[in-house]
Symmetry: C2
Subunit: 503 residues, 2 copies
Amino acid sequence: MSKTFEKLQPYLDKSMALQTARNLFEWDDQTTAPFEAAEYTAKVVGILSDEYMKSLVNEDVKKLLKKLQEEKEQQELTEKERAIIRELSKTYEELESIPPDEYREFNELASVSNRKWAKAKKDNSYEDFAPYLKKIIELKKKFACYRAKKGQLPYEVLLSDFDECFMIPELDQFFEKVKQEIIPLLKEVAKKADTIDKSYNYLHYDIQKQKEFCRFLSGYIGFDFNRGVIAESAHPFTLQLHNHDVRITDRYMEDNLESAMFSIIHESGHALYEMNIDDSITQTLVGGGASMGMHESQSRFYENIIARSQEFWEPIYNRLQSTYPENLCNITLKHFIKGINKAAPSLIRTEADELSYPIHIIIRYEIEKMIFQDEVSVEELPKVWNQKYQEYMGISPTTDSEGILQDTHWSWGEFGYFPSYAIGSAVASQLYACMKEKMPLTQYLKEGNLTPIREFLRDNIHKYGAIKNTKQLLKDVCGEDFNADYYVNYLKDKYRKLYDLSI
Amino acid sequence: MSKTFEKLQPYLDKSMALQTARNLFEWDDQTTAPFEAAEYTAKVVGILSDEYMKSLVNEDVKKLLKKLQEEKEQQELTEKERAIIRELSKTYEELESIPPDEYREFNELASVSNRKWAKAKKDNSYEDFAPYLKKIIELKKKFACYRAKKGQLPYEVLLSDFDECFMIPELDQFFEKVKQEIIPLLKEVAKKADTIDKSYNYLHYDIQKQKEFCRFLSGYIGFDFNRGVIAESAHPFTLQLHNHDVRITDRYMEDNLESAMFSIIHESGHALYEMNIDDSITQTLVGGGASMGMHESQSRFYENIIARSQEFWEPIYNRLQSTYPENLCNITLKHFIKGINKAAPSLIRTEADELSYPIHIIIRYEIEKMIFQDEVSVEELPKVWNQKYQEYMGISPTTDSEGILQDTHWSWGEFGYFPSYAIGSAVASQLYACMKEKMPLTQYLKEGNLTPIREFLRDNIHKYGAIKNTKQLLKDVCGEDFNADYYVNYLKDKYRKLYDLSI
């Protein structure tokens, strides 16, 4: 190890420990903590966050980083060290470029703004939230300008927080293709809505049995219960302390069979990524996934491509049937597969099917771009939102709660996040095409053997953590750059067959 | 606030945040964390512990403390500030008096030693544990000598970690009385073992129903679910993040009705203490209970004095009966009360009844005193243990697992802890006598109204946290010093009646 790097290690260890503690508080808050704990616990988390910042942004680290940058140029560092320096520099530049006062102002505002958003959504009152959103946007613009490299647009600074490989030109091209190909397909599918009956999904499903079946599903795709746990929370999520402690949550509804099942598979996809990151890099700055886009590719690969396929269910559908014989005894596997893939234009992103999902993302991307290019005012946002839904989906929200107010992201200042979801789906399709070339994937699914799939992803993607970025990973696995054709073709093939379409 | 104290505040805040984080990791380890997480999480907790120590033991704090000691003498500090300074000085002196190398050596040893103990207990092999125990004792003696004030015995240094009000003279006197009065009583009770039939307790009791009933019991005595949660763990315990987040656990057995019920009441007693500490001192060094002894007085007050009384069960016994009609329909309230109070000489402390319990403590106290006065070797301990059980209980362990190896405390180096349990019982009896003078306690229980009891304890004990010590609290509540007569008389009255004895 480089001597300079060795001197940096204690700072990295300290920041890792503080970050892990913050993660545990986050987990606890979402799954366990009593209702009235929040105010007092916030004080603790605030202090840990300050200490986290101090552990990284200080004169010692600054000097060491400078020295390490030189060593990096002189090739004196290992690949792992170089990757850690790269991540540390990014974090350092971000934290250092923003005046601490404004950083604190933003964090306080974000927390208030999120509460205001939740209330405004409940009350269907955009005007109550708008002043906070305006302030959040102002600060985010300011921060993006502080952080922007020469020639970089503010929105691109934000996009790079979630996936540095996809800037405006790449995203414009990607989304243009999706719009051209998927919007007409979705309109055709909408016309044949009646051909798939999904009423079985909304019968009564005992929650204890759902929990057991979801646990089975998670283990079936490879979740390791010696290194992970499943809990309940209001919204499903994945969180890791390190690669030997990866946690997922689910939410169960008595009158919806699908919801918890596909959520647990989605989160298990994220969890497999984190569990399979190499021991040598866990608990370092490159010990998480490569990007939000790459992470979503893993969750969506399992949730949509794998778990909505007929082959996946062939070995296990009768287990589901015998869990709920009263509801499913007359629902054939074929019927079930059609049901879990049923698509239609929709208003709510989180409940959207695989086909309409990218359209939800495109609408948000286009609006975010407008916001950060000063092409729309906060007051005009609901109108623009509704117009875009009308134009792309053929339907339009009747309330702001199911329109502009539906997502929590903006209330936290998370602009630039949404594209990752679509990148994830597209990357998943590209990986799928490549994996089918390299292994008898369909056969494995029919045999109920998911191990080779998990091992392929582990050896080619997961283990690298954030040492490689999305594009490098894709290039190394598939031998080509990101290519949205795979995604569009996957969706077209699948939905043409499913709905027996001629377009 | 004193200007000097103000300068100390950031150090106190930082140590509080780090300590709270350690507590949350402890909670998580016992209730949630996956099996294989331990090694990687230990690294995180190790770093947080080092940071905790650094936040308190450093030149800045040392100077501030010195200055504050002077201000204390000059009466420039508030009562709260003075109490915090007192606690900080104690912690500071302890941490500073032990060389960091030896402190680390001890912590590493304790963790190994605990694992060795668990294995030795399982294998019934004292000789496998003895070398570790020897080393632990050596280090504890060394530390106690470093820390001892002039004329203070090493064992008293250890006792003072758990309750500074009870040193060897007080404990000798207390335990002598208990031995004289309780050992003969226990022998009489043993002769009448057959008069109480408790077989109903060991039938099949559905665990889900146990959980619901235990939750009811906890709320019934006043546990506030907005500020606390109940979880499961291998051994029941209480842990708080602050007074708005107090957590308890329980363990459920299918073939034992009592176990989980009295554990949850015991832990709820601890929890009420922590929940009722005043907002103005929570998250400070005096924001926990006054001492281990005082804490145990609250758990034992609820567990034994309140919840093993007939009056407590009068309003709720039919709820228990109708939870398990198949087992309890023919068990009258009177029969049940006799069952939950059945006493007998026993070998295992944690399963002991209220009457034989203090004898278990006395045996451990006498042995610990011998150890720290160099009157017994590690090799001789099993023999001494067994002799004392024979002498006081009239029975003797046939294996070391149910003898010298039964408790975990020594494997962690926790010498001086055991007396707190007996102090707790005695303090509880004294408080009970005093409360009966001040309120119609029996009537309240019969009416199912536990609020005045909780409020009395809150206003007279809980809210003060560690601002007052055990003796000050007793004096202020009862108007007299600690007096073991209350305890001995309580036990004698209760068990004479229960077993219809003439002694």
